[in-house]
């Protein structure tokens, strides 16, 4: 029987309280009709009653808790473990929407890798006047220890989690590049496993591209970094330890890849070779997928008070006896002032136009931009260039007069440290909240692996700002996540 199209598709349960606004809605057109690729989900939700939906949500919550997929909330006497809030309704992306994202991310990573090689070697991009030398050398994450160091296969960036947002015209834009130790990929994989149990029939009907090969692809990519004379390389994952909030992810990935999960105290350096301490004696380590920040990996080279690292690791690395993924010093490209130059970086190294747009960015270091920012503090989002995770930010439209005055003096004191962007209207997707379906703002973090070629697992982690009206998707600030489905053609 053909579907009888009502005036709008909103208004039928469980969508009775669903309201559209100016943000791009992933499921409905501005006129309130369900988008074609969401129709199967829409029909399924119409069929299910509330009790059935609640039962699936409970099943999902229990699955996360029992598997120990939790993060620790600090500051309480006996630290409590909570599950990362999970929304039951998948976010769906068509093959047509995905193709440019994939192309754009590959292009961006390739260009940024050239950029990192260049700034730690000849610095041609400075001489050609594309980006000021001072801007790069003053980055908080610039590591002069990496000057003229050759890294294996010239690969600086192996693992990336780029944050994308969908803007009101429906296109994707890059919000930030995370080139240091991006996390969240375990949530992407476990979300999918749980969804398969919650909506098995829908999967079969709709044609969702699989993502399960992430672990294997990551392993292959890491193996590619091993020194050529080490045909059977030992690869390890270096974690800060059980107290790190992403520890679950570290154990999960180590298990998926079948490699050892090590802490700094398991490793030692001798004659610039890295060993791990095993029950069968010392064993040489060739590749380290490190989930420890630059600052903490080697107390002899960086922070001397770090107990998470391995003394002598940087020298072993510079001698070419061990590979690190990602390389030391990649944080330069995370700097929000450098971010503003990425389109120029792409044009410079690749001679191509960027496929994915940047969000318009004002550099407070530039006099014109600064004047504009100071005049429009109540409209803009101001960010410190070296921060992440939603810290060190002013969200103009939601700010108080005092907060704006504080940021005005902060900017004037240290203009290099601040950038500003227009307040973005993130797209919204339906979420199952308090027994009904309501729209919430979302972003998207696809995971990119850069080895012999660039591999992007279709989809990524869709993060959700679960508080009504909130634009902050970070898990530390009331964010959750949902499964992301990229469809076959």
């Amino acid at each position: 029987m053909p579907h009888e199209r009502s005036a709008t598709d909103i208004g039928r349960p469980p969508f009775t309280s669903y309201q559209l606004d100016t943000a791009y809605d992933e499921m409905f057109t501005p006129l309130g009709h369900v988008r074609e690729h969401y129709r199967a989900l829409y029909e399924r939700l119409n069929e299910l009653n509330l009790a059935q939906l609640m039962q699936r949500q409970r099943y999902a919550d229990a699955a996360f808790l029992n598997q120990g997929i939790t993060f620790t909330v600090y500051g309480e006497d006996s630290s409590t473990e909570r599950i990362f809030p999970y929304d039951l309704l998948p976010r769906i992306i068509t093959a047509g929407e995905w193709a440019p994202v994939e192309r754009g991310l590959a292009q961006r990573i390739t260009a940024l890798n050239h950029f990192l090689h260049d700034i730690y070697h000849e610095g041609k991009i400075f001489k050609d006047g594309v980006i000021p030398r001072d801007l790069v050398l003053t980055c908080q994450h610039y590591r002069r220890e990496m000057r003229n160091v050759s890294v294996p296969r010239d690969t600086y960036i192996t693992v990336v989690g780029t944050d994308l947002v969908r803007v009101p015209d429906g296109s994707f834009a890059v919000l930030e590049d995370n080139l240091r130790v991006p996390s969240g990929v375990s949530y992407m994989l476990t979300n999918r496993a749980v969804m398969k149990r919650a909506f098995p029939r829908l999967f079969a009907n709709i044609g969702v591209r699989p993502i399960d090969h992430y672990g294997k692809t990551l392993l292959t990519t890491l193996r590619g970094l091993a020194p050529p004379h080490r045909p059977e390389p030992t690869i390890v994952l270096l974690t800060p330890g059980v107290f790190n909030s992403a520890y679950f992810e570290h154990t999960f990935l180590a298990r998926q890849m079948g490699i050892e999960l090590v802490e700094g105290r398991d490793l030692l350096c001798h004659d610039n070779i890295v060993y791990m301490r095993t029950t069968a004696g010392l064993r040489r380590v060739d590749v380290i997928y490190r989930r420890v920040d630059d600052d903490f990996i080697d107390p002899l080279a960086f922070r001397p008070d770090s107990i998470l690292g391995v003394p002598g690791l940087l020298n072993a690395y510079r001698s070419g006896n061990v590979a690190l993924a990602n390389a030391v010093g990649t944080g330069v490209a995370d700097d929000k002032a450098v971010y503003a130059y990425v389109p120029a970086i792409i044009r410079y190294y690749l001679g191509e136009e960027p496929v994915l747009q940047n969000v318009e960015t004002y550099l407070c270091d530039k006099a014109d931009d600064r004047a504009y920012v100071l005049e429009h503090l109540d409209e803009l989002v101001v960010k410190a260039v070296g921060e992440s995770g939603g810290y060190g930010m002013l969200i103009g439209p939601h700010s108080t007069r005092e907060q704006r005055e504080t940021f005005r003096s902060l900017i004037l004191d240290n203009p290099r440290n601040y950038i500003a962007q227009p307040t973005l209207s993130l797209s919204r997707a339906p979420c199952f909240i308090d027994e009904q379906v309501e729209p919430r703002h979302i972003d998207l973090r696809p995971y990119v692996l850069n080895g012999e070629q660039v591999t992007i697992v279709p989809g990524g982690l869709t993060r959700v700002a679960l508080r009504r009206g909130s634009l902050v998707v970070n898990s530390s600030q009331g964010g959750g996540s949902k499964d992301t489905w990229v469809l076959f053609e």
């Binding site: 180590a254 791990m276 301490r277 095993t278 029950t279 004696g281 010392l282």
Partner: protein, 320 residues
Amino acid sequence: MLSRVADSLYWMSRYLERAEHTARLIAVGLDLMLDQTPQSTGIRWERLLASLHAYPPPSGSGDAYAIARMLTFEMSNDASIASCIASARENARQVREQISSEMWEQLNRLYLKVKGSSIDAIWHGDPLEFYQEVKEGAHLFQGITDATMTHGEGWQFIQVGRHLERAGGTAALVDQHFRPFLEAPADAPLALDYIDWVGLLKCCTAFEAYCKVYTADIKPESVAEFLLLNADGPRSVRFAADRIQRSMQAISQATGTRSAGRAERLAGRLRASLDYGQVDEIIAENMHTYLENIQRQCAAIHGAIYQAYVSYSVDTALTS
């Protein structure tokens, strides 16, 4: 396998064995209270405390409530059941990726169960049921471990931890029961109640098994023989020594023979001495010294394992 991982698996197992042992001792102690004279109360609890290397609470060794609280829930007491289970879980958490999910979930459930309880809740309810749940929780964990984890090197470290703890625990327990009995002057022999010997056997879940071998005719020599030298009773010292040696051999094979000689030799010697032990000789010579010696040997095996597999010096490892 990483040395740190072996270390955590070993201690996870030891702590859990310790918690189970303590739970069984308290349960038997509470049960014996129902059949006692006022004089025997303090003596029995004192014996129990001594066999756990614990001191009486300030209110004295007649205060069963205070003793149970101290040995069960007191977090400042490292040897309390709650502390041991928390430590076992913390060690498991450190090697979450090395154990099966089922093992982790079971240990977590046991931890939450104990954490969610309190001395007053169990004391005014049914304390025996609580200790029963702790014992069952530990048994379930062992069963799950055997059923879901690869019986490789890590599993062997779990076995070593459990049986070293068990051998030491049983030796200390037997020692405390026999000491007053054997040290009493010949002209005024101390008569331990029948019920005390049954209690000792029950502390090792060995009463029924004992009866099958020796009938319900309880003789101290037979009790000692059963708990120390029986080859098949899972809580006898000899059984534990046998498992320790087997696991040490498996570990040394898995890691390739290196400096493991000392640990293997010590484990083999302990086992051989029990294999060929004679209970009449043990009692005639000096049982207390003998049992202390067994505990010392367990400590030496522990030290040798650490030297061979965990905290070896880097210099020797590089040159070998």
